[in-house]
Amino acid sequence: MNEQKPKLKLAIYWAAACGGCCVSVLDVHEKLFDVVAAADLVFWPIALDFKYKDVEEMPDGHIDVTLFNGAIRNSENEYMAKLLRKKTKILVAYGSCSHLGGIPGLANFFTGEEIFKRVYEESESTINPEKIRPQHKYEVPEGTLEIPVFFNDVRPLNKVVDVDYYLPGCPPQTERLLEVFLAIVTGAELPPKGSVVGAGTKAQCDECTRKKTENKLIRKFYRPWEINDDGESCFMEQGVLCMGPATRSGCGYRCIKGNAPCRGCYGPTADVTDPGTKMMSAIASIIDTKEPDELEKIISDVVDPAGTFYRFSLPSAIIRRKLL
């Protein structure tokens, strides 16, 4: 029998996530057999019955690669991030939430208190006259029950622990994951620590095949459902906000191919510090007016700049949360 190379030890964990990232891993379909042939899954809460205790008992650096998805929004997320960092050689921030804060990061428009009030008192489907809230600690005859502490601020993984690589996307394209995984398994030379992997370096606009006109200017912005997209010309030139100019390529501009503007899930390109400021500049350069009043009217159609520009990246933005 051939001498077997020791199998890679792989872990996948979800923190503040929707579960889509874990599903994107399952989307490798029958290739999962190749993955399992090359790697032992030592921890993966969505699919396998390992406990936190099992991870705690592993020696440090025991896991070769952890794909960490989800943002850090409570003390359990933070504990697991630190624990997995200690037990893992290569820690990958997998998906937008872990990379930049993602959709859960939109909670940074509020405080923990505001969120609890909405959820446990005000939401249309809530009846809670005694205003009962979850308590961090609760005494019962059997002892003390504890649930995680809910933080005010949502953070991406790199604000909590050291991260080796970032694999962007909401969720990442499964093909990109396979490429990265294959590179690790075959022992190919890995890019420098801190790199974004499984994505391009240019902007979506550089790959997108929609028709662009030189110096096209516009006088009105529309929400996507307000116009009949011609299916061919650049969204921005039709007055529909598209995050393409500020977003890293790598997904194969899949939303645009589906006739929807890019929402920015791959995060900013390498030379963009902040997706929002890049978009403000991009928008400023296509508006066709010099009159302040008209300008104000045109910009009033950019309904929610903060939520649009930072849909996936608020906790990593220059201003990473709303002022209280």
Partner: protein, 141 residues
Amino acid sequence: MKFKPQIIAFLCNWCSYTGADLAGTARLKYKPNVRAIRVMCSGRIDPTFVLRAFRRGADGVLLCGCHPGDCHYQEGNYRCMRRYHLLQKYIQQMGIETERLKLEWISASEGKQYAELIDSFTETITELGPCKIKETMENLT
């Protein structure tokens, strides 16, 4: 202790910075709270500069360029104006008072107007008090 606002002003080289210079050579007295940063054109003021200024503790940010039609690069000040309007909308959403960001046109001969602008803007910011975005971001968990 009395609050001493920190204000960052981005001034275009050709008009506004020259105007500020004139205020100096004319020995006009105005409030000392402004740190001026010279840029070649107001169109060079990347929104990143403005947000970074707030992030690092500025209480107010002032953008100054040539009057409409006078930009030495034709369109720079219009570009600046459009960015400014977007920035206003954005900072409001982030809970930063829109009064903390101001755009004014100052020509090379308007030393006096520059001095008055600095005084009135400093006053506005002093009344608003410190901008808390830096503190919030550093201390909130």
